[in-house]
Amino acid sequence: MKSLLKMTWIETKLFLREPVGAFFTLIFPLMMLFLFGSIYGNVPTQYFNGRGTVDISVPAYTAMIIATTSLVGLTITMAAYREKGVLRRLRTTPVSPLVVLVAQVIVLFIMTTIGMLLLVVAGKLVYGMRFDGNALSVVVGFILCCISFFALGFVLAGIMPTARTAQVVGMVILYPMLFLSGAGFPRELLPEAIVKISAFLPLTYVVTLLRGLWIGDPWSQHMTEVVVLAGIVVVGVVIAVKTFRWE
């Protein structure tokens, strides 16, 4: 336990010392919010069912943070730790190297949460963001989304041979997905054909679930998303365990 706490604290510091990761988790989503907020304001519009750009962007950007921390942050860190022998060194200590995996998940979860809170605070203070959901439901939905994407991150880290390929493949998967799933900008602006493609992207379900819970949709309206994301957790964990390598 003492080791896990120390490891988590060190991984937190290491996360913040990596400027790129910290930027895309904590700063970049805020910049997006201010950019589109300053262009469109937060005036209710019929496009978004009587809500403003900021109202629907905060849950969508939260989805963006989840995807970035898992598919880039988690994947690269794990692949690099394996490739460089960090995990190997840990295997020669009495402490299970699982500690570093758990610490990694805790740190990324905390950072993703902070990223979301920054968006919420900025949205509220600067743009008077409306929130019609149930806070507890949003938290539960957020945790489900995080777990399912962390599982994907571990799968990717397990399959990719090196940290370098993990980084490239992570980016290649992440960027198109950000735009097609509605995480980067509203899906309402995308043409019909692309919206159809987006049904195949896991992130689409995160965006839909979070946006829905944000405006107070009941869970019963989002069973598809829950089933898909829970399915990803199960399948992801199985594959991640099978493909995981210490070295």
């Binding site: 003492k2 080791s3 120390k6 490891m7 060190i10 510091k13 290491l14 010392r17 990596e18 730790y81 460089k84 022998g85 960090v86 190997r88 060194r89 295997r91 020669t92 200590t93 009495p94 402490v95 070295e247």
Partner: protein
């Protein structure tokens, strides 16, 4: 003397290649035991079987009284390890690594003291990636000493270091041993093995081809000792024939060299006495002892390659 490590008939293969084939040896308490050999000779595989990182195909391995495959936790609590291919996160600071690793051991040594002992105090706040090769290795030694272990594994400790850093590391290893700890190391530098180890096992193609103290190996397998000197005048036939029983003589211009069998205690004396008897004046006398490198060449028939 107690055997800290016992290996009997160890065998390990990867797919079609046999990495270690029927290796047996023992390491006694508070000795520095070295495994030498070229890359791919099976040194690292052997050490990794002892550390419990690899499962032997056959044979008996016993470290500190336990089977590494059965009781890895005990082993990892009581031994210190420095691995050939291992690393720390790039941005972790020296003190953070020591602090973190010391939380892994029930009775960890005081890491502040280790920091000073290994000369890393100035680098306390430096990130791992900014350390020089020698500093990284010193940090790894510090991490290996954290459990206050009885036995320490050092795998290719000085590979890639400059000579000065290498000497610093050798001094550190001797200092650690002087505290009664047992050290098992691998190296492909013969000089390192010769200077540091009490006993050496030479590995080639996964087998131990010779094992003894460096001096004894040199005596047994080192071949000839050589004396050379310069003379001003041509040597007389009488001198040349009386040199025959002592050693083989070759003349290249002014330079004369004589090769004798190693271990002939009086070789140098015999040659010098004969020179004096014949009243031959000589300059630039040099004696060359065979080294472990020569032993290696003789036993394996090839050069050490980096």
């Amino acid at each position: 003397m107690n055997a800290v490590v016992k290996v009997e008939g160890l065998r390990k293969s990867y797919k079609s290649t046999i990495a270690v084939d029927d290796v047996s040896f023992e390491v006694q308490e508070s000795e520095i035991f070295g495994m030498v050999g070229p890359n791919g000779a099976g040194k690292t595989t052997t050490i990794e079987c002892l550390e419990g990182l690899r499962k032997p195909d056959r044979g008996l391995v016993n470290v500190l009284g336990v089977d590494p495959q059965q009781d890895g936790h005990f082993l990892h609590t009581h031994t210190g390890m420095q691995l050939q291919q291992s690393n720390l996160p790039e941005r972790i600071k020296v003190w953070e690594a020591l602090d973190l690793y010391s939380s892994f051991y029930p009775k960890a040594a005081n890491w502040e003291e280790l920091l000073a002992q290994l000369g890393l105090e100035e680098k306390r706040n430096a990130p791992f990636a900014k350390l020089s090769g020698g500093q990284k290795q010193r940090l790894f030694i510090a991490l290996a000493l954290l459990p206050d272990p009885q036995l320490i594994f050092l795998d290719e400790l000085t590979t890639g270091l400059d000579p000065q850093a290498r000497h610093t590391i050798w001094d550190l290893v001797r200092e650690v041993r002087s505290k009664g700890k047992t050290i098992l190391l691998t190296t492909h530098y013969m000089e390192e093995a010769e200077r540091l180890c009490d006993r050496v096992a030479i590995l080639d193609h996964g087998r131990i081809v010779a094992m003894d103290s460096p001096a004894e190996l040199v005596r047994k397998f080192g071949g000839e000792e050589r004396i050379s000197f310069n003379v001003d005048q041509p040597l007389k036939q009488e001198f040349i024939s009386s040199m025959k029983p002592i050693g083989q003589l070759t003349i290249q211009g002014e330079r004369v060299s004589i090769q004798g069998e190693t271990g002939q205690a009086s070789f140098v004396y015999d040659v010098v006495a004969l020179l004096a008897k014949h009243n031959i004046r000589f300059r630039g006398l040099r004696t060359e002892q065979p080294t472990l490198e020569d032993v290696f060449l003789k036993l394996t028939g090839r050069e050490m390659k980096d």
